[in-house]
């Protein structure tokens, strides 16, 4: 009965201390800080330079794709490295397992390639009739 209660009170003290600390900090800055309201008060401060433009700009989605590719193939090397270190201990068993792993990754790579994930800009996808007909139409128009 007593042990959980005994273990809860440090937590309670800790929670209390956190609250006290936060309140103290806010209170101190409110008490000690200056209170002025001018044009520049609420502007973001960036090394003294007034910021220009909008932060909401569009970045091409390809950047994300490349980042994801990097993560995937980076992780692949992690696995392969771990296997290479223990190559002889794992023997044929490990070799076959790694072959399967790389095989799956290869299929995925082929899939991505064929779907134009590696193209920058215009995409060419296989078997995409709509896209092809669209291109054909554009060609005739030109």
């Amino acid at each position: 009965m007593s042990s959980p209660d005994a273990e809860i009170w440090p937590l309670a003290v800790f929670t209390l201390m956190v609250l006290v600390l936060v309140i103290t900090m806010l209170l101190m800055s409110w008490l000690l800080g200056q209170r002025r309201r001018e044009d520049a008060t609420n502007e973001p401060f960036e090394s003294g330079i007034v910021s220009v433009g909008n932060s909401q700009i569009r970045i091409s989605v390809e950047f994300y794709l490349v980042a994801i590719f990097f993560v995937i193939f980076d992780l692949e090397t992690v696995f392969i490295f771990a296997w290479a270190v223990a190559f002889f201990e794992l023997g044929w068993h490990g070799y076959i397992a790694m072959l399967i792993f790389i095989g799956v990754l290869t299929v995925a790579l082929v899939y991505e390639w064929r779907n134009g994930a590696l193209d920058w800009g215009s995409k060419v996808r296989v078997g995409l009739k709509e896209a092809q007909t669209l291109e054909a139409q554009q060609a005739t128009h030109l």
Partner: protein, 615 residues
């Protein structure tokens, strides 16, 4: 063969479902073929089972379907066939088939031909389930099933609101008895732990001894159900009103089969009743009292169907008397013969009504002897059987009941005397009917003669009403033996001669131009007694006063008052909660996450706060 016994109730059931679904697409001819044919086939199958049973009379149990088996509960649908079941099945399918055949002509001008046969087939199926059931729960299912079908068929011509009222009355009054029966079933279940009839009887005889109070209570509750369904005093008032239905329906449901379900129930649970002599006495007294009362009422009625209805009540009273004195076989025997001759009488009256422009009043008939010969002969034979004239089926069964009642110690002779009085009145009123309707001057001309679909059932039933008394029922294994000591000769002679005396009295009173009786009935005392009897001993009024009116008043008082408020409050509360909770589904994700976090903290709190201990 017996393994396929489930086909027998299935056939009418399937035909009923088919008729309901496809009613609009079938021609009248195919409706009749389906409706009559399915019951006919069931009758043939029953006959085959019966033939097999004659050579090997061991009871059979057929389990069709175990619904589920969880823990110790295993409700199942299973049938049990012994001599008693078989007799009932033969009556239901045999007489049922004849009545179906009769209906196919009787109802031919009706718009709802298919609906009629759908209900009628469903009734046959429910009734078969009732008698085949090997546990009381399934029996109760059939019991309620026939109640519903009766309701539907009594109110078949629903456009006339009086018919609807009669149907409701039939349903509600029998429900009162059914409720008592359900309580009885639950009592048996809690006390004995099973509803399987045979196990129940066995356990009851082991666990209870004769004269205990529990079996008496259980028996009286079951009896409550039986008197509701079988129209015995004081729950008999629905039956005369139920004559609002088509006449073949009255023949099938309110004469031959459904109303005898109470008799069947008591016969089926006779081991239980044997444990309680006082319950047996109650059965006997209710039976004889109802019998006399109804016979008296039948004497003064003028509606042909109401006469037959009261006579049915009276005859079932005889069956109850038989059960009450322990003459089980005699009771069941009378059940069967009564099914034959009462169905015959009802169908005969149906033929008259059919040919006489739906005329019900016997004083507007007359002289039909020469105009409707087939009907006349069948009515004559039916009335003779009803009056228990010698050599008819009714004679054998009624005589058996009276003689066994006489042998009953203590008050046996009294019961016998009362029964004889009833037999006398029965003979008088049945031949009063014959003399008034078929002799004398013609008052209404029949507009047609009956066709073969009507004539054939009448002929067959005539034959059965005569030879039915010579059947020997395979009931020896079902019921305990009754002492077969022979009563004195003079008892038998009186029993035989009393109905003849009744016929003679009827002849004096009602044959010809009624000169002899008219002057007598003019006296005020007789008038008043007649009035009293005609209203069914004013029981309807009494019930109206003590039950219906106060109930209406109570209902009126409660109409928008406290109890409803309570339920409305529940509804409002739930709706309010729904509204407030719906407001929480704001669609905002941060609110969703907040809710999750609050939930997490609450879960943690409950999991950690209370000092835990491993179980």
């Amino acid at each position: 063969m017996r393994d396929f016994v489930w086909f027998i109730p299935l056939l009418p059931l399937a035909s009923s479902v088919l008729l309901m679904i496809a009613s609009s697409r079938l021609t009248r001819r195919s409706v009749a073929l389906l409706g009559v044919g399915s019951v006919g086939l069931a009758a043939v199958l029953t006959g085959a089972v019966a033939l097999e049973f004659l050579s090997d009379s061991t009871p059979v149990e057929v389990t069709l379907w175990t619904w589920m088996k969880i823990d110790s509960l295993a409700p199942r649908i299973s049938f049990y066939i012994d001599g008693l079941t078989l007799v009932m099945m033969c009556v239901i399918t045999g007489v049922g088939f004849l009545i179906h055949l009769f209906s196919s002509e009787f109802m031919q001008d009706d718009d709802s031909y298919a609906r009629y046969f759908a209900y009628l087939n469903m009734f046959i199926a429910a009734m078969l389930i009732l008698v085949l059931a090997d546990n009381l729960l399934l029996l109760y299912l059939g019991w309620e099933g026939v109640g519903v079908c009766s309701y539907l068929l009594v109110g078949f011509w629903y456009r006339d609101s009086a018919n609807g009222r009669a149907a409701r009355k039939a349903f509600i009054v029998t429900r009162i008895g059914d409720t008592a029966m359900l309580i009885g079933l639950l009592l048996l279940l809690t006390e004995l732990g099973t509803l399987n009839i045979r196990t129940l009887m066995q356990v009851a005889s082991e666990q209870w001894s004769i004269g205990d109070s529990l079996p008496t209570i259980a028996c009286l509750l079951l009896l409550g159900g039986a008197i509701g369904k079988s129209a015995q005093f004081p729950l008999h008032t629905w039956l005369p009103d139920a004559m609002a239905g088509p006449t073949p329906v009255s023949a099938l449901i309110h004469a031959a089969t459904m109303v005898t379900a109470g008799v069947y129930l008591i016969a089926r649970t006779h081991d239980l009743f044997l444990l309680s002599p006082s319950a047996m006495h109650t059965v006997a007294f209710i039976g004889i009292a109802t019998s006399l009362m109804a016979a008296g009422t039948a004497l003064v009625q003028s509606d042909i169907k109401r006469i037959l209805a009261y006579s049915t009540i009276s005859q079932i009273g005889y069956m109850f008397l038989a059960l009450g004195v322990g003459a089980w076989t005699a009771g069941v025997f009378h059940l069967m013969t009564h099914a034959f001759f009462k169905a015959l009488l009802f169908l005969g009256s149906g033929a008259i009504i059919h040919c006489l422009h739906h005329e019900h009043n016997i004083f507007k008939m007359g002289g039909l002897r020469t105009r409707m010969p087939i009907t006349f002969w069948s009515f004559l034979i039916g009335s003779a059987a009803l009056a228990a004239l010698p050599m008819t089926a009714g004679f054998f069964s009624k005589d058996l009941i009276l003689l066994q009642a006489y042998q009953r110690p203590d008050f046996g002779p009294w019961l016998w005397g009362a029964g004889l009085l009833g037999a006398l009145i029965t003979a008088i009123y049945s031949f009063r009917l014959v003399f008034i309707v078929f002799f004398g001057d013609a008052k209404t001309e029949p507009d047609r003669e009956i066709g073969w679909q009507m004539a054939l059932p009448l002929t067959v039933l005539c034959a059965l009403s005569i030879i039915g008394g010579y059947f020997s029922l395979p009931l020896a294994d079902v019921f305990p033996l009754v002492n077969a000591e022979h009563p004195p000769h003079w008892v038998e002679i009186i029993s035989i001669s009393v109905p003849l005396l009744g016929v003679f009295l009827a002849y004096i009173g009602f044959y010809g131009q009624r000169p002899r009786i008219d002057s007598w009935t003019k006296t005020p005392l007789v008038q008043r007694v007649g009035q009293f009897l005609r209203s069914g001993w004013r029981l309807d009024e009494v019930f109206d006063r003590i039950a219906v009116k106060p109930y209406y008043n109570l209902a009126n008082a409660l109409q928008n008052e406290p109890i409803d408020r309570f339920y409305e409050a529940i509804v409002r509360l739930n709706q309010a909660i729904h509204r407030h909770l719906s407001a929480t589904q704001s669609g905002r994700m941060r609110w969703y996450i907040t809710s999750m976090m609050v939930g997490l903290i609450a879960t943690l709190g409950v999991a950690m706060k209370i000092a835990p201990g491993a179980i």
